[in-house]
């Protein structure tokens, strides 16, 4: 089968155009994937940072709690020592009163220490929950954003591809029509030329056949009659 050079060129140009479109599409898709990967990595880093921060806060809270307890112990020991010294000098009531006061203070300090520790724990837990919620929210946001971007990109590419296909199809159809018209014109011209050639060949053959079918006598008679006709017309006499 012989393909018309013009149609071949159009098909080649269409293939090249579609290849370029697919290349651009693939390139864009790779870029979106890379963005998504980068964001995931960023999220991972943020998670790690949050965990480290929570651990650090816990450590700090525990350190502070221990410091307060130590300080309370130290204060209690000091007061007990002072009370010992007073016992030698004061009466039993005063000693009992002081001991009661010290016990009450010790209990208060323990209670305060426990409340503080609980408050720290609660704060850390709240912080952790907030971090988890933030991370979850970010993950969802990233996911939704990526999905939306992908959807937009997909729609855009679909639209571009369909538009390009329609445009190429339209162009190919137009070119095909032009080629068809040119072919038709060329066909008519060529047939015209062939007719003309056949006509000329027929004319030549007619002459050859007629020439060969004439005898020498026929030819002589034709010459003589022509001469007679010219004389009768009077053309030769008038010269």
């Amino acid at each position: 089968m012989i393909i018309d050079p013009l149609i071949f060129i159009i098909l080649s140009a269409t293939s090249i155009f579609i290849s370029i479109a697919f290349f651009v599409l693939a390139n864009s898709y790779a870029r979106v994937l890379k963005d998504h990967h980068d964001k995931e990595k960023e999220l991972e880093n943020y998670k790690k940072e949050s965990e480290q921060k929570a651990i650090q806060l816990t450590e700090e809270a525990r350190g502070k709690a221990l410091q307060i307890i130590e300080e309370a112990h130290s204060s209690a020991s000091k007061m007990l020592s002072q009370a010992g010294q007073l016992s030698e000098k004061s009466d039993k009531d005063s000693l009992a009163q002081v001991q009661s006061m010290l016990k009450s203070q010790q209990e208060n300090l323990q209670k305060t220490s426990q409340e503080l520790l609980a408050a720290y724990k609660s704060e850390i837990q709240k912080l952790e929950e907030e971090n988890i919620n933030t991370v979850k929210s970010m993950t969802n946001d990233i996911k939704m954003q990526s999905v939306a971007e992908m959807e937009t990109f997909k729609n855009l590419m679909e639209k571009e591809t369909v538009d390009s296909q329609k445009e190429v199809e339209k162009k190919v159809n137009e070119e095909y029509q032009v080629v068809q018209q040119e072919l038709q014109k060329h066909k008519v011209e060529e047939f015209g030329k062939i007719d003309e050639e056949v006509y000329k060949v027929l004319q030549i053959i007619s002459k050859e056949v007629l020439g060969k079918s004439l005898t020498l006598e026929d030819k002589e008679e034709m010459v003589f009659k022509a001469l007679q006709a010219a004389k009768e017309k009077g053309d030769l006499q008038n010269v």
Partner: protein
Amino acid sequence: MSENAYFSSVRTVSEKEELVSALDHLIETTYQTIQLPWKQTFSKLYSQKTIQLLEGILQSFNITEPTSKDAQTFGNILKVLKTFKVLRLTTSFEPSEAFLTKLHTFSKTIYISILLDIIVDPTIVGGVVLEFEGLHEDYTLNTLIDMAFEKRKEEIKQLLG
């Protein structure tokens, strides 16, 4: 034989040209000191037809062997020959001697002092092209076929198509 009778045998331009050449030669020989019989010399140089024409001319003027005093007579003959008109005929075949004579005889009814100039062209197929004193008439089959084809061109093309 009348004075112009010897010219009636001169039918074509080529015959006339050879005769003119022979007459010029004859005039030259009349002035030569040593003279051979003219026929002995000329028969080697000219065609039988030209020799016969010269014989006829010399007989009509009662000349056996030309001398210098006959030069004037030959000069006059040459002048007469130059007055002949030429009818050019283009034919598709080489005419025979008999047909040439027939054509020349008929042509003399058109103009008495006439010579034929025959040109052979096979492409004209048949018939003749006449050229005489500026007149040009085409009676060829080639032209007739062309005209017939041209006239019925569309009809023929339709038959071909």
